[in-house]
């Protein structure tokens, strides 16, 4: 979830139609409108989650920040979906429901799962439904991908302008022989600890 307090505004007279902002926007809030050689950036304000990546990549001072009179919360409540389905999806994604998936927007894995169960089927829709991918990007890409793939299968990313790659391994995916080759990294030990925690959580949920 993210309390969005600002929105971007395009300065038309400065826009040179370079397409870089469109390729950086995690929610698809920016579209280049017009014939290819004359296209200018146009923003859909409600789809902007104030990540300002467009401003970062713009070399032409063509994007400003405007303060919103009324900030709006971007979030998907986990209470809006079936709890059993939510648990199962997190399980299928191989991630604990309460694990933070995006530190910057304070989005947990279970919120991603709720958004996907509510209909988000692309990275853009998932970012717009949760605020994930609006910050540093160091955390969110793997959990977003794993939750999406767990529910909708391999993602059709053709309509996206953002470059993404399909890596999404987690600790438990590391093969035993590889784990054994690097004993200082304690991979086996940590894998075992993760499995024990999974089992304990499942037992707790079953008891409830």
């Amino acid at each position: 979830m993210k309390n969005v307090k600002q929105v971007i505004e395009i300065v038309d007279e400065n826009c040179t139609g370079c397409y870089r902002c469109e390729r950086a926007c995690p929610t698809g809030a920016i579209a280049m409108v017009g014939a290819r050689k004359e296209a200018l950036a146009v923003v859909t304000p409600r789809a902007c989650i104030a990540c300002f990546r467009c401003i970062d990549v713009c070399d032409d001072d063509a994007i400003d920040i405007a303060e919103l009179d009324e900030p709006h919360m971007v979030r998907t409540s986990t209470k809006t979906v079936d709890p059993q389905a939510l648990t199962e999806l997190c399980e299928k994604a191989g991630l604990p429901p309460n694990q933070v998936a995006c530190l910057c927007s304070s989005t947990k894995v279970k919120e991603l799962a709720a958004a996907v169960l509510s209909g988000a089927s692309t990275f853009e829709e998932l970012a717009l439904a949760t605020g994930a991918a609006s910050g540093c990007l160091l955390y969110c890409s793997v959990p977003m991908r794993r939750v999406l793939v767990a529910h909708v299968g391999e993602i059709d990313d053709k309509s996206s302008h953002v470059r993404r790659y399909d890596t999404d391994k987690v600790l438990l995916d590391i093969p035993e022989d590889a784990a054994d080759a690097y004993p200082l990294f304690a991979l086996r030990q940590e894998q075992d600890a993760v499995r024990r925690r999974h089992e304990a959580r499942k037992a707790r949920e079953a008891a409830l």
């Binding site: 993210k2 309390n3 969005v4 307090k5 600002q6 950086a24 104030a50 990540c51 300002f52 990546r53 970062d56 990549v57 920040i65 991630l95 694990q99 933070v100 998936a101 530190l103 910057c104 927007s105 304070s106 609006s134 910050g135 540093c136 990007l137 160091l138 955390y139 969110c140 890409s141 793997v142 959990p143 991908r145 470059r163 993404r164 790659y165 399909d166 890596t167 999404d168 391994k169 987690v170 600790l171 995916d173 590391i174 093969p175 590889a178 080759a181 690097y182 200082l184 990294f185 304690a186 991979l187 030990q189 940590e190 894998q191 075992d192 600890a193 993760v194 024990r196 925690r197």
Partner: protein
């Protein structure tokens, strides 16, 4: 206890570079806080290795050290018609003002050209995230001139290249690997020991700086501080990287400054030396930071808050000072890194003053844990638009100036022990009470590290202590 013999005026911190990712460099610096003194790290621990370079404009000692060590490196694999990518990471420019790192990079290029006849030696300047970061570094450190125009910037959002590893397919950056050869030009500043545990520091950039954002996400979201080392190592050990890596170089440091330059064709050999130096050069200062009872931290530098130095130690070392991260008997219990490191959150910090730092990396927890006072309106304006810390200003206060901010922090924190993180090596800018506190703690820390901890840390990593001597 008095601090007679330790009263020195504050040391001058490195200049802060003008950047789009932080406020304009502040004229009021931490060293201007009334009554501050500096405490040389050698007055705390006389055996901290002495530096050959302390941050001045004259980087000749670094150049001489680099030439000396590179003379024993085999460069015969590089042919005159080859292309060599020298890989550098932005944090190197955050150490002692960055000029030593720039000098090491330039010397690598000069030596490759001189010894191999290869003139296609390109520098790849890899930034953390911002699209404008590489350009700022290239301009400030005149990297274009130093590399005869053969310089390229890169960020983790740039085009990827698949690398087959023991963990499956991971993605590096195409700009990193598109030469015939790569030179891994690194540094041994231990930085965030809480997320790597000083196990395999030498390979960390392969899973971070040189990698696509998805590969970085793998580390942050699913791996712990120990297991996370596997990602960089898996990439470094891949056939692809091994076929490209010509040699590695590092700036060798202690809290005093740059000690030397190291270089080797063997990544593991240089990695072991790096680990040994991190443990032996930084162990006492880290142990000292763990013993601090209470303090006000002032952040006043040109990097993200966690990475700004005081006496060669980053703020992150204080922020996560709750446990001994070097001790491998301490189990991370398979927790992902954010949860694993939470056990180390500092109870020593009582308040934080933010005078200047970069935005873009999440550090909202500062405001959740401690009274946080921003020292000027320019920094506050940056924080209001910090996409990585959207709720930071919900809890932080803004003072009219640095001195008012420090007064407020001292009052709210209930302590006048002040430590300034301003990029300094060699000495810490601190309040007299903090100097007294540190001097009082140091002898027992030295004894503990010498007699118990260092032998244990080395043994845990299979490094023979006598061999180290």
């Amino acid at each position: 206890m008095t601090i007679t013999g330790s009263i020195h005026p504050p040391v001058e911190p490195p200049e802060v570079m003008l950047t789009a990712y932080g406020p304009a460099p502040q004229t009021a610096r931490g060293r201007d806080i009334p009554g501050l003194v500096s405490l040389p790290v050698h007055e705390l621990f006389p055996d901290i290795p002495r530096a050959i370079y302390h941050g001045a404009a004259d980087t000749d000692p670094v150049r001489a050290a680099a030439i000396r060590v590179l003379s024993s490196v085999d460069m015969s694999m590089i042919k005159p018609t080859d292309t060599v990518n020298v890989l550098c990471s932005e944090h190197g420019f955050g150490m002692l003002g960055g000029h030593a790192y720039a000098q090491m990079l330039e010397t690598i290029k000069d030596e490759i050209e001189r010894r191999t006849g290869c003139l296609k030696v390109r520098l790849v300047v890899i930034a953390w995230l911002g699209a404008k970061e590489p350009g700022e570094l290239i301009e400030y450190y005149e990297l274009d001139r130093r590399f005869d125009g053969k310089v390229r910037g890169a960020t983790p959002m740039d085009q990827g290249i698949p690398i087959e590893t023991a963990m499956g397919t991971l993605y590096g950056l195409r700009k990193v690997y598109d030469g015939d050869w790569i030179v891994h030009a690194h540094y041994d500043d231990p930085r965030e020991i809480y997320v790597h545990r000083a196990i395999d520091r030498i390979t960390k950039p392969f899973g971070m700086s040189y990698a696509r954002m998805e590969t970085r996400s793998l580390f942050h979201i699913t791996m712990g501080p120990r297991s996370g080392n596997f990602i960089g190592r898996a990439i470094a050990d891949s056939e692809f990287v091994r076929s490209k890596l010509a040699f590695s170089t590092t700036l060798v440091t202690s809290p005093d400054g740059i000690l030397a330059v190291d270089a080797d064709n063997d990544l593991n050999a240089i990695g072991t030396r790096m680990t040994a130096n991190i443990l032996s050069s930084y162990g006492k200062m880290l142990t000292l930071f763990r013993r601090i009872t209470d303090c006000v931290a002032v952040i006043d530098g040109g990097k993200w808050p966690y990475y700004v130095h005081a006496g060669g130690m980053i703020f992150g070392h204080l922020f996560y000072n709750g446990v001994d991260w070097f001790d491998l008997d301490r189990d991370d219990e398979g927790k992902p890194v954010e949860r694993a490191i939470a056990v180390g959150l500092s109870k020593s910090i009582k308040a934080v003053v933010l005078n200047q730092a970069l935005i873009g990396l999440n550090f909202t927890s500062l405001t959740v844990l401690y009274p946080t006072i921003i020292a000027n309106e320019q920094m506050a304006a940056m924080m209001r638009h910090d996409f990585s810390n959207p709720s930071f200003m919900d809890r932080a206060d803004v003072a009219a100036n640095l001195f008012e901010a420090v007064e407020t922090a001292v009052e709210r924190g209930g302590t006048d022990k002040i430590i300034v993180f301003d990029g300094s090596y060699g000495s810490l800018n601190v309040s007299p009470t903090m100097a007294e506190h540190l001097l009082e703690l140091a002898p027992e820390c030295a004894r503990e590290v010498d007699d118990e901890l260092l032998p244990k840390w080395l043994k845990q990593r299979g490094i023979d202590p006598p061999a180290l001597r």
